[in-house]
Symmetry: C3
Subunit: 356 residues, 3 copies
């Protein structure tokens, strides 16, 4: 599967990993089991017993260990078999792969790449539902589509004017205006001022005259972090179109974290949160926003799964980028570059090995 590996993928919401309840998930086509010990330590292993390939996610937690519940092999947190019932000798190669795993911003993240390159500093600065500054709802949904198509969707909000008329109530300004695009080391930043608030979701909580600033970073491997707020009329002009201080927003400051995780080549899981800043809303507003989001993300899925089906029946699919695709192009170039670098590194490794 053509995805960056040296990066953190969201495997689930932290609260969905209960103590001693192993969770199985397929990440980039690899079966992974994740479990939380009574000591709150998370472990992620290859979800495939060395014995006969049964999934360890059907297993039983025993203290810091996980027992395969087919024939009883017991694994420690390093993936090593420590017990084979009725057998004294344990082969040294009786070991499954481990994955670095980490809980942060209410998400459980798994590092799918080279463990030497693993670094928690690379975890995107999402906002979790435990953040005291925001009142966030959260959810997730599965897609019968490859993750790349969902990333493309999130990198070009011109689709709001068409896909989300009946949910976000987005007008054509989203499609006609080109946002400011800034390449980041690990992604792309997208910023815009919107003058026309008619129909906008901002209107749910902000009824005065005004305009809206919106900003999101879309970061490797597929994480969207978005905020924004309403400002008095003329603010954009006064700032010369530059970014405002959100502390000074007149209203409607919200945050949404969204993550796209490739399960298999053509299935994905999409995680999302959304809600107001504590100064700009309450739990009732959060629930209203989540209701809108639920409708909107179902609209996205309908379109993207249909797009996937058309692609699947197209012998040699080719796209025709428009000027609205700039962030997509930048992000996909970044992905291609990272994959190329990882591939070069992987090829270089044996050579490096000569001297050791």
């Amino acid at each position: 599967m053509n995805y960056v590996r040296n990066t953190w993928y969201v495997a689930g919401w932290a609260q969905d990993f209960a103590v001693d309840k192993p969770v199985g998930i397929t990440l980039l086509g690899e079966p992974v089991v994740i479990w939380r010990g009574a000591d709150n330590v998370l472990t992620a292993l290859e979800d495939r017993c060395v014995h006969r390939l049964a999934p360890l996610s059907l297993g039983r937690c025993e203290g810091a260990r996980l027992r395969c519940m087919y024939h009883g092999l017991l694994y420690d947190r390093q993936g090593a078999v420590t017990e084979i019932p009725g057998q004294d000798v344990i082969p040294p190669h009786a070991k499954v792969k481990t994955y670095p795993v980490c809980e942060r911003h209410s998400w459980v993240w798994v590092w799918m790449g080279d463990q030497a390159a693993c670094d928690t500093k690379l975890i995107p600065p999402a906002v979790g539902y435990d953040d005291p500054n925001y009142i966030l709802g959260h959810g997730q949904m599965d897609y019968a589509a490859e993750a790349r198509l969902i990333n493309d969707n999130l990198l070009d909000f011109s689709h709001l004017s068409y896909v989300h008329i009946n949910s976000f109530g987005a007008n054509e300004e989203w499609a006609r205006q080109r946002p400011k695009i800034t390449p980041l080391e690990n992604g792309v930043r997208v910023e815009r001022w919107l003058q026309d608030l008619s129909g906008s979701t901002v209107r749910v909580s902000y009824s005065k005259p005004g305009e809206r600033y919106s900003r999101y970073d879309f970061l490797l491997p597929g994480v969207l972090l978005m905020t924004g707020g309403a400002f008095p009329e003329g603010t954009a002009e006064r700032l010369g179109g530059a970014a405002p201080d959100l502390e000074l927003a007149a209203g409607a400051v919200t945050f949404t974290s969204q993550a796209v995780t490739p399960l298999t080549e053509k299935t994905s899981r999409y995680f999302f949160s959304w809600g107001p800043h504590v100064k700009h809303g309450d739990a009732a507003l959060r629930d209203t926003l989540m209701g809108i989001a639920g409708k909107a993300f179902a609209e996205d899925r309908t379109m993207i799964e249909a797009q996937q089906r058309v692609i699947d029946m197209t012998p040699a699919p080719r796209i025709m980028p428009t000027s609205a695709d700039r962030a997509i192009t930048l992000f996909n170039q970044l992905i291609a570059r990272r994959i190329r670098e990882e591939s070069n590194l992987a090829q270089a490794k044996p050579a490096t090995g000569w001297g050791t």
Copy 2:
């Protein structure tokens, strides 16, 4: 897919194409969107936006145009993009394929082949539900089977004696008797006189002693047009087995139009109408006949889908034709000849191009 292309395929019932409601259908493995404008003009385009391959059938009609509702590209009836929101220049290659489309006999027909060869005179002379001479019901059903198997079924009515005992009540005369088969330029004609009316559907409306004449044409690409009626005993003998004048029928004159459309390699859509001539029945008889047809066509589907599953698990499937297969053989030879001709034409084209 091994189908004739220079021919009209039924894409649906006319009444199912409401104004400004695009309809997506896969024809011969190609995604096609069809829509009816407020001016009643039908348009059929490749159902695949040039931008990112979203289906235009999820789009919005805007006068004579169709807007892709993913990122807003607007198409005219010639398949050309006429607007890209937020972008001034439209690349000249921003164009999807168009298909000739035509409404006739209550069906919407799409020409899948060379547009230079397109000719509405090639549309089979079906009878629509708007024909004042008949009182027709209509329906459709989808098959998990390739269209060729359904065509084969419709070309050999000897199956009536076995598949349709519990619906059409056909006796063994259908299987034991060989009908008169006449090759046509675009198909095959099948005619027969049946002496034994016991159990026959004719008995629903005709209770006197008699015999039955039945005739159908099976035309490219897979359209069955069938009529017939009941006659006094001795008519067939008096006519020397020739076709009678249906104007003189004693009763039970009906018409059925049926069409088989290949969606993908192994799925098909089957359209059918049936009902009495106005002189031989009413809406109540039509409903009775449609009830029988519904049961009978479900019997066909059960058999044909099972046949498809057997074929699919057969490494090198071979058939053993019987004398009942003559119409099938003629029709399949016609199809093979047409496909060969189309292939020769396609190869010849570059040569023609030398002189221009």
Copy 3:
């Protein structure tokens, strides 16, 4: 499909083959129709009409014959077409394959291999529900997994300690103890004495102090025949661990016959019976045991289908046998040897043909 062919496969429970009701089943990827005549004779034919490959299992029994209900071809018990409606001449090659078929021990068995090698003596000595010595319940279930994985499961009962905690209540003795394994000509014998009866299913009918002897043969192609019983404490020691005389058991003597039949490469059907010896229980105990078995076999299926899914997403699946796998290894070696022998025989055949 990589299975032994010169062997009897269970195609179903005898009572499920009613007179004149053809049954279709896919065995080793081949469509087979089996029917019982009014004279109680079973016939098994290739389930694929020579005409157009319709399944004969949708056909109609007519005395000793079976009529294809698509176009009426009639087959005799030797697979020969004896009638083509409306056609006088029947081609000599109008014949489908026949399979030896046999009812024994309440099962219908089909021989999938060389008919010259067919021998009913090779049918495993199962115990049918008509056996007067036992009061047996029976059932079956389908698996989305290859038969080999189910065979593996049945050859290593160490899984009882983990998979069946909530059904058979098996304790860890099953996993920690290594049974006595004896190679048989057509399979493997597995015997063991269990000292710890706590939680054991034996406790359902035997409440005194004691120990348990258990023995099963697992025979080609995948048939498990198991019995055992409870004995007073010290019996195993007194016998030096040898097999006891089950006639002398203190209680809990039961029998279970189980059979695994490969349908396609990755689907299987699993047949099972279980119940007490007439001297050790009644219909109520049988029902209790069948309730437990129903729960337990569902546990197996959950594990094995999950194992199949993991295998399917593994590029080059490899197992790591443990000492608990000895019976599996012996049985799989036997299968490999038989397949090799069959292959050699098949290659030798043309050479044999030279002289004839």
